[in-house]
């Protein structure tokens, strides 16, 4: 009695993580093959938030498609808008006024701060550090208030326009933003006191999710995911758009390519973004905020629309049919959004609507590396890896 007839059999279990799971950042679904707590196989399934943004854009005029880009990476909508606008402007050959360029750079960096804040908040929360989450949401609230002050919207802003920005910034806004930039570096230190040298944090992040520079390039990683591995590539430096060539900033890089180095990279980026915002405020030139080629691509000013017939007609045509003077051709333009390299590939057939729009979403590319980072590690490391990728499913599933 009690004799074991045959050796104990062990089996791997399949664990379905998500799409409803607190730390899959939305609706990512991972099917994990577990041997005990070790991940043998990790298969990400995406598409739960698919809304067909690329296809929807084909039925819309270039201006109408702009709010769609808000819904890509919904926590950094400003950067997506700018990315889209830059692509369309390059396709049409529109030259954006200097002031608009600086404003765009400024709001892009504000977005970077708010996005990185969410990243540190959720990343820390996933690893169990609850307080960082609430500290950083305090500053995010501040940024969102500033956005509201700027354009009336907090999340899906649709503030940039093809050829410029929607409205000018007020002095009041600039003052508040300046106050923010004065205060924010202290707040970054506050987050860092909690986790930067925390032994548990170091143990959970150092040597986890390591990817070498070569591999990172081969996987097509971008943004902090790439820079964490020591590759100094930033679209803002390599192919400057807007006013990035006129401001001074550093591109922080990591060394080991692990979760901790990416954390350090992003924290440093917060400081650099703060620097850029300050420079933008200081250097903000006077002038128009919209490209002056009113009848062709950009809307004529509202007061003229109400006053003269021709402008009204232009306005009507631009809104209903899109820019009629759109040249034929195709273009791929990448911008550096908080998550990485966001690319818009737009094919124009001369009508007012994009013939095809394809979005290179950094989150989508980064999700593909998740199995590479997680396999052979523990379940808890999968969570750390999801956090370090800084995934937003709105962008991944489009």
């Amino acid at each position: 009695m009690g004799r074991v007839e045959k050796p104990l059999e062990t089996r791997e279990i399949t664990l379905n993580m998500g799409p409803q799971h607190p730390s899959t950042h939305g609706v990512l679904r991972l099917v994990l093959q577990l041997d005990g707590e070790t991940v043998v196989k990790c298969t990400p399934y995406v598409g739960y938030l698919h809304r067909g943004i690329e296809k929807l854009a084909e039925g819309m005029t270039y201006l109408q498609a702009l709010p769609l880009t808000d819904r890509l990476d919904y926590i950094s909508s400003m950067a997506n808008n700018v990315g889209y606008c830059v692509a369309v402007e390059k396709l049409f050959g529109i030259e954006v006024p200097e002031r608009a360029k600086f404003i765009r750079t400024m709001v892009c960096e504000m977005t970077r701060i708010s996005s990185h804040i969410i990243w540190i908040a959720t990343h820390a929360l996933d690893l169990g550090a609850m307080t960082v989450f609430l500290y950083s949401f305090r500053e995010r609230e501040w940024i969102l208030d500033l956005f509201e002050m700027l354009c009336g919207a907090r999340l899906t802003v649709s503030y940039p326009r093809i050829g410029g920005v929607r409205n000018d910034v007020s002095q009041e806004f600039l003052d508040s933003l300046y106050k923010f930039t004065e205060e924010f570096p202290k707040r970054i230190e506050e987050y860092e006191t909690l986790i930067d040298k925390n032994r548990i944090w170091l143990k959970r992040t150092k040597g986890i999710g390591v990817i070498s520079a070569e591999e990172a390039i081969n996987w097509g990683l971008s943004g902090p995911m790439l820079r964490g591995s020591g590759v100094k590539y930033d679209v803002r430096k390599a192919f400057p758009y807007d006013a990035y060539d006129k401001v001074d900033f550093e591109v922080p890089i990591g060394k080991n390519g692990d979760v901790y180095d990416r954390y350090r990279c992003r924290m440093e980026e917060l400081r650099q973004s703060n620097r850029i915002i300050r420079q933008c405020i200081e250097k903000l030139p006077p002038g128009p905020i919209m490209a002056p080629d009113a009848p062709k691509f950009t809307l004529p000013p509202k007061d003229r629309v109400l006053a003269d017939m021709e402008s009204l007609i232009h306005h009507f045509v631009l809104i209903t049919k899109g820019p009629m003077a759109a040249p034929e051709g195709e273009i791929y333009v990448a911008t550096e959004v908080p998550k990485g390299e966001l690319g818009f590939y737009i094919v124009s057939d001369g009508t007012g609507r994009p013939y095809r729009m394809r979005i290179r979403a950094p989150s989508f590319v980064h999700t593909s590396v998740l199995p590479r980072l997680s396999e052979g590690h523990l379940v808890a490391d999968v969570i750390a890896n999801i956090g370090t990728i800084d995934i937003v499913l709105g962008e991944c599933d489009r």
Binding site: I13, L15, N16, H21, P22, S23, E37, A124, L125, D126, L127, G128, A129, M130, T131, L134, Y135, R138, L194, I195, N198, I200, W201, K203, R204, L378, V379, A380, D381, I383
Partner: protein, 351 residues
């Protein structure tokens, strides 16, 4: 004597049996008092936690129900009480039913041996400390059973993690308390406190500082608190072993966790902070303090420990499973063993 002919009524009719009856009634009253008071404190420990952590995280904590949210625990309890009790279809129903009860019962019975003040314990037994250790490891049965019976992989993983965790940290905790046992020369909680009061430092915290460190860490792990809350790791296992529980059954687990925390607080207060006494040198400096009843000191000490729990929760991230194990086996157990050796050597040398 045939045992079947011997009824309990005959027993009470014997001379002297009246005392036994009185004793039983006294014990029942004591149980009622202890349970009532502790349950009240458990309810407000949740409030205290939310307020403390709220303050640490620059927010208010509960503010809506009652003044400053003081009635929040009652509202929570009512909510949980009226919630639908969902049982998974494929769950092992019997085990699913008893798991939270086992968990709570194990936590509650530890209260029996805690001396809240001089000679006031429901059961002043000589193996008090062992009893608490036994009961707290019994509590892990609740977790394992619930994890097993829920028919959910998340709960299952939580249960497995918990069993491994409690097993490893139980050893470290018991070993850390051995130092106290050696110094007091007793396992009786009352005796430990009395021995402490007579000790030159007034509390065992100072000579047993290594043991105390091991104890605090092991107690955190034992009660599944951050940074060792792996069995219920919210971001990994959603809620861990009680993921399938709802309503009142969930509340039982929740209460068990908080009772466990208060027990650990009581244990720390009794074994390291001198229980209901205050060190003689403090009384010498501030003589009026001796008029403060012992139970107040005890409560303050318990709340100090509980506050530290919250503080830790608000500060640190969570360990990974293998790291937790390596800390338990490679750091805490050797430390506790060293502590025993040092205590022993000193004790022999002083003699």
């Amino acid at each position: 004597m045939n045992i079947f002919e011997y009824s309990i009524f005959e027993y009470f009719l014997k001379p002297g049996s009246f005392d036994v009856l009185v004793n039983i009634i006294i014990i029942l009253v004591k149980i009622a008092i202890v349970l009532g008071v502790v349950m009240f404190h458990v309810a407000y420990a949740t409030y205290f936690e939310r307020k403390t952590i709220g303050r640490m995280q620059v927010r208010m904590g509960p503010m809506e129900v009652g003044p400053h949210g003081l009635l929040q625990p009652i509202a929570d309890m009512l909510k949980l009480f009226f919630k639908e009790d969902i049982i998974p279809e494929k769950a092992d129903k019997t085990i699913f039913y008893i798991a939270p009860i086992v968990s709570l019962m194990a936590a509650m019975s530890s209260l029996a041996v805690i001396p809240f003040y001089k000679d006031f314990a429901v059961a002043n037994i000589n193996i008090g400390l062992l009893f608490i250790l036994a009961m707290s490891s019994l509590g892990s049965y609740g977790i394992i059973l619930s994890g097993w019976s829920s028919d959910s992989k998340y709960a299952f993983l939580g249960g497995l993690r918990s069993s491994a965790q409690v097993l490893s940290y139980e050893i470290a905790m018991a070993l850390s308390l051995v130092g106290v046992m050696m110094m007091a020369g007793s396992l009786n909680m009352n005796e430990i406190v009395k021995a402490q009061a007579e000790y030159p430092t007034g509390l065992y915290l100072i000579p047993q500082i290594i043991g105390f460190f091991v104890f605090v860490v092991a107690a955190l792990a034992e009660t599944n608190r951050t940074p060792f809350d792996l069995p219920e790791a919210e971001s990994e296992l959603v809620a861990g072993y009680f993921v399938e529980y709802s309503g009142m059954r969930f509340a039982l687990f929740y209460v068990a966790e908080y009772v466990g925390m208060i027990i650990m607080g009581c244990l720390a207060a009794t074994c390291y902070f001198g229980g209901w006494t205050i060190p003689w040198y403090i009384i010498k400096i501030l003589p009026f303090l001796k008029y403060v009843p012992g139970v107040v000191w005890f409560t303050l000490k318990v709340y100090f420990v509980v506050f530290c729990y919250y503080w830790i929760r608000a500060t640190v991230p969570r360990y990974r499973y293998d790291q937790l194990m390596s800390i338990g086996w490679k750091l805490l157990i050797p430390l506790a063993l060293a502590n025993i050796a040092i205590t022993g050597i000193i004790k022999v040398m002083v003699k």
